[in-house]
């Protein structure tokens, strides 16, 4: 028989549940308990587009090293969903563990020889202790948590403290939950031995926070001075608008009158959402919408208007699996091209590419400065993985001396002093004109905003030369954007190498681990994390300095690679596609295997990782 895996603070646990069964809160407690023991953890919810009855998974990466991406593979499967039993059991790594509800006997053929099977009669224990159906449903999850607490060596008082916090507003629930926890714990203690996978108190979490990217981006919007949010519900972006609402309620009311310093409208659709955002931006308020790929498709016409009429606006695009309705509850980075070149005619837009909740906050705030400075649409490209999963990140920071940058807004004083106002006039070569807000001055500075061609003084014109001048200025403005967006981050390999890798967004944590793994194997690759479009010059310098550059992405068509080739005139043969697009977040094992293979190293694990 295979030796059972033995690991301390370094393994992967996966819960297979049925959605709507109340498992989410127990899973959350499990993760928080590990964090409270000072052990770094990353958790990913894999769920269907459904409310009740379909399979969901919750995958937890426990990492003493602090790796927060998906590793790949499963060491302990908590298999609580008969519908997915076979594939769940098949997914366990050799030497791993299967935890299941042993109330009903299972035939031996349903197990595997090379894993350790641990049965706890959860339903029987629960039914013996509770009569009401509602309690039976919920408490079974807590009994399960109790058993795992014993099996994995989680400190019991940590879980109890978390239960007390969880039910602080309903104190009557606390003893009942603690009782259920003990039922599971005691049963496991009396009948089973601890697993080879063990948790030991550590000090690896520090002052880091556990937060999802949608919440972080929403908080960023609050700090970035956004006052108008218009949105339409769509997975996986909905919780961004909800978090913005929540934070505004706490942080944005006039202390004297109690009135709101913000306006949030749930619009009738995505078109109206972006219309309101453009209207508010035109009138000088910082405004945003949050959506996903299908929403961006609907917004195309307004995005072009924002580009051409030069109206600041921000879209948070929490990407999901496309095309069409695609895989609405799975993750992808597949809106890169449709956002970068959104709308008809010649257009290009600024994209910010956060790597996780930390940058969701930072870019969520700075997107509004950039939009105002550049007077254009700015996309913040999240994805479901970072948007809806809580990640362990450095605490948010804010410098109180930071001011909101409203860009070139011409005031009544400037107009009064005789400034020559031309709404689309490039006054200093950066391609960015001055704008006036409605009602700035009784007789000066008014202009008629439109999506049609016009001269520098906003007068309608269909003259070819006038049109071309304006389009060229918009390109100059885009060049200015190149100097204002966040620079890419370079990580050099230990030794000089002709290999490079470019990546972005939520690939970051898995890439961290993959790079360390490659380094440990003596494979040298320089890494560049791209953080924005238009690409700053360093991106093309990086490509020029390497013979072969892997471009790691989570979409089928290598969209960032296409953008690099298109914008930088790069020889496609030098950019190697590394693509994970099955809807699950990319894993460190997959990246490491693909890069090793690309660098000529033999790697047995390369095949089939994505398919898992």
């Amino acid at each position: 028989m295979t030796r059972p895996t033995a690991a301390v603070n370094d393994f992967v646990v996966k819960f297979a549940n049925v959605n709507g069964s109340g498992s989410a809160s127990a899973n959350g407690l499990f993760v928080k308990a590990i964090l409270r023991m000072g052990v770094a953890v990353a958790a990913r919810n894999i769920f269907p587009s459904n409310i009740q009855g379909l399979p969901t998974w919750y995958e937890i990466r426990v990492s003493g090293h602090g790796w927060l991406g998906r590793r790949g593979g499963v060491d302990l499967m908590v298999a609580l969903n008969p519908q997915t039993w076979d594939r769940d059991v098949a997914e366990i790594d050799t030497g791993g563990y299967l935890f299941y509800d042993s109330t009903k006997p299972m035939p031996a053929s349903k197990f595997r020889e090379d894993i350790t099977v641990v049965g706890v009669p959860l339903t029987a224990l629960c039914n013996a202790a509770y009569v009401e159906p509602s309690k039976r449903k919920v408490m079974k999850n807590i009994i399960c948590l109790g058993a795992l607490t014993f099996l994995l060596g989680i400190e019991q008082d940590v879980v109890e403290a978390l239960l007390a916090e969880e039910y602080a507003s309903k104190p009557a629930m606390i003893p009942a939950n603690i009782e259920a926890l003990h039922i599971g714990f005691d049963h496991a203690k009396q009948n089973l031995k601890p697993l080879g996978l063990q948790l030991k108190r550590a000090d690896a979490v520090g002052d880091r926070i556990f937060v999802d990217g949608n919440t972080a981006a929403a908080l960023g919007a609050v700090y970035g001075g956004a006052t108008v949010c218009a949105w339409y519900p769509i997975t996986p972006s909905t919780s961004l608008a909800e978090a913005f609402t929540e934070y505004c309620r706490k942080l944005r009311h006039d202390p004297e009158t109690g009135q709101a310093r913000y306006a949030i409208v749930q619009a009738e659709d995505e078109i109206a959402s972006i219309g309101m955002v453009v209207g508010a931006g035109w009138n000088g308020a910082r405004a945003f919408t949050c959506t996903s790929g299908p929403g961006v498709s609907l917004m195309q016409e307004f995005i072009g208007l924002s580009y051409f009429a030069e109206i600041p606006a921000v879209i948070f695009d929490v990407q999901r699996g496309g095309p069409s309705t695609g895989m609405p509850t799975r993750t992808q980075q597949s809106d890169i091209l449709s956002a970068a070149y959104a709308s008809h005619g010649d257009t290009k837009h600024v994209l910010l590419l956060p790597e996780g909740p930390g940058e969701c906050f930072e870019m969520g705030a700075s997107a509004f400065d950039l939009a105002d400075r550049l007077q254009t649409m700015v996309f913040v490209m999240l994805d479901l993985d970072m948007g809806m999963n809580e990640w362990l990140v450095e605490p948010f920071r804010w410098d109180d001396s930071r001011c909101l940058d409203h860009g070139k807004v011409m005031t009544a004083e400037m107009l009064e002093a005789g400034a020559d106002f031309g709404r689309y006039k490039d006054v200093d070569g950066d391609g960015i004109p001055y704008r006036t807000l409605p009602a700035t001055h009784p007789s000066k500075g008014a202009y008629f905003t439109r999506g049609t061609s016009r001269d520098p003084y906003a007068r309608y014109s269909e003259e070819g030369a006038v049109y071309v001048d304006n389009m060229e200025r918009l390109l100059r403005k885009f060049d200015t954007a190149r100097t204002l967006v966040p620079a890419p981050i370079l990580r050099k390999a230990r030794e000089r190498t002709s290999y490079g890798v470019i990546y972005y967004g939520s690939t970051s944590p898995a890439m961290d681990e993959a790079l360390a793994g490659l380094e440990a194997r003596g494979l040298n690759v320089d890494a560049l994390r791209v953080r924005a479009f238009p690409f700053p010059g360093e991106v093309f310098e990086f490509i020029a300095h390497h013979e072969l550059v892997f471009v790691v992405e989570q979409n089928r068509d290598a969209q960032l690679r296409t953008l690099l080739i298109n914008e930088g005139g790069v020889d496609p043969a030098r950019l190697v596609k590394v693509l994970n697009y099955d809807g699950s977040p990319i894993t460190a094992r997959f990246i490491q295997a693909e890069l090793a293979r690309g660098m000529g190293a033999v790697d047995a694990n390369a095949a089939g990782e994505m398919a898992q």
Binding site: A267, A272, G275, G279, A280, L305, W398, A446
Partner: protein, 351 residues
């Protein structure tokens, strides 16, 4: 003659309003619409209305969609910021603009193609949200810029210039606005300035969603026999329910009207709407009766005009959202950014 720049000078004896502006100060560029277009009469009525209510021209924001009607904001109020948005989407842009600065007056100008076809959804939702605006549809039942296709407000059975008969039911935006909760609903005719100017004045001073459907015959494509949006047809079938005067500053003028024929509606801004009844038993403050009356008259082929419904104690979207009195676009960094100390507390709650 549309290539001619409109001269700025005017006769020194032109009357001025309380702010010292003449009517000319409310004008815009020379219209590029067809000679005789009903829309130009509506632009003139808007100019007259703004002049008469002593509006500071720059305190108004004019927004439109796409189409002949949506071009007109260039032809009035040159000192106002204007925004010619995208087809059918003016309501959302206006909503956003209004959220950003509640202190301005918002005038939305649209057409029947813009509001009843591609923009029907946005029209409906702006009405039900109670966005504080005057929303004018210049309704000619036809697509002019693309040369004569039926619009969704064309009546069933009406004939196009080329002789095609419209087989689809017409959308009545007035009926929709009433149903959707607009707090001011009127209808008028571009050829009836006496009726239209006071309606626009009242809509501009109304708090909440104010809608006016203005029948505006298209001289190029929809002014022929068989059309129900032609000058002749509208004149023959127009059934006014009331005549309106808008009194600013609550001047006591009731004495000028015979008793029993007058309804007085005081609006939020202090203006008073004096409704001289024309149709007996018409109550412009009763939404349900207004809807019933509208359908009743429509059934006998009449186009009901006048102030059809007004809610004096109306509320707008800002009331619903309980926003601060100060425009959101004027809030300072200190009022918007919670700061590092608040962020530390948030961080602590996420551990």
């Amino acid at each position: 003659m549309t290539y001619i720049v409109k001269p700025q000078f005017h006769h020194p004896s032109l009357p001025t309003n309380k702010l010292g502006f003449t009517r000319r100060d409310y004008e815009g560029r020379v219209s590029t619409l067809c000679a005789g277009c009903g829309h130009d009469s509506i632009s003139a009525a808007i100019v007259q209305a703004c002049f008469e209510i002593d509006l500071e021209p720059h305190r108004l924001a004019k927004l439109s969609g796409i189409g002949c009607s949506s071009k007109t904001p260039d032809y009035f109020l040159s000192a106002s910021h204007g925004f010619n948005t995208v087809h059918g989407r003016m309501p959302s842009v206006l909503t956003g603009a209004n959220l950003a600065n509640r202190e301005l007056i918002y005038l939305g100008v649209s057409g029947d193609g813009d509001s009843a076809s591609i923009g029907l959804g946005q029209f409906a939702h702006a009405m039900r949200r109670g966005v504080n605006m005057a929303y004018i549809v210049e309704n000619n039942g036809v697509y002019g810029l693309t040369k004569g296709q039926f619009s969704a407000t064309a009546d069933k059975g009406s004939k196009s210039k080329k002789g095609a008969v419209n087989s689809d039911s017409g959308i009545d935006l007035v009926a929709m606005a009433l149903q959707l909760g607009a707090t001011f609903v009127g209808r008028s005719f571009s050829g009836d300035k006496d009726q239209l100017v006071p309606l626009i004045k009242a809509a501009l001073t109304h708090k909440g969603a104010a809608f006016i459907d203005v029948l505006s015959p298209c001289v190029a494509f929809n002014n022929h026999k068989g059309s129900t949006k032609s000058f002749d047809w509208v004149r023959e079938h127009n059934e006014a329910v009331n005549r309106l005067d808008v009194i600013l500053g609550r001047a006591p003028v009731t004495a000028a009207y015979p008793p029993g024929s007058l309804v007085e509606v005081a609006q939020h801004d202090g203006s008073v709407l004096m409704l001289r009844k024309v149709a007996r038993d018409y109550d412009a403050t009763d939404r349900v009766k207004a809807m019933a009356y509208l359908h009743e008259r429509e059934a006998v082929g009449e186009i009901v005009t006048g102030l059809l419904y007004v809610e004096a104690e109306s509320e707008d979207l800002h009331d619903a959202l309980a926003t601060v009195a100060k425009p959101l676009n004027a809030l300072s960094d200190a009022e918007l950014v919670p700061g590092a100390a608040a962020l530390d507390r948030i961080n602590a709650a996420l551990r």
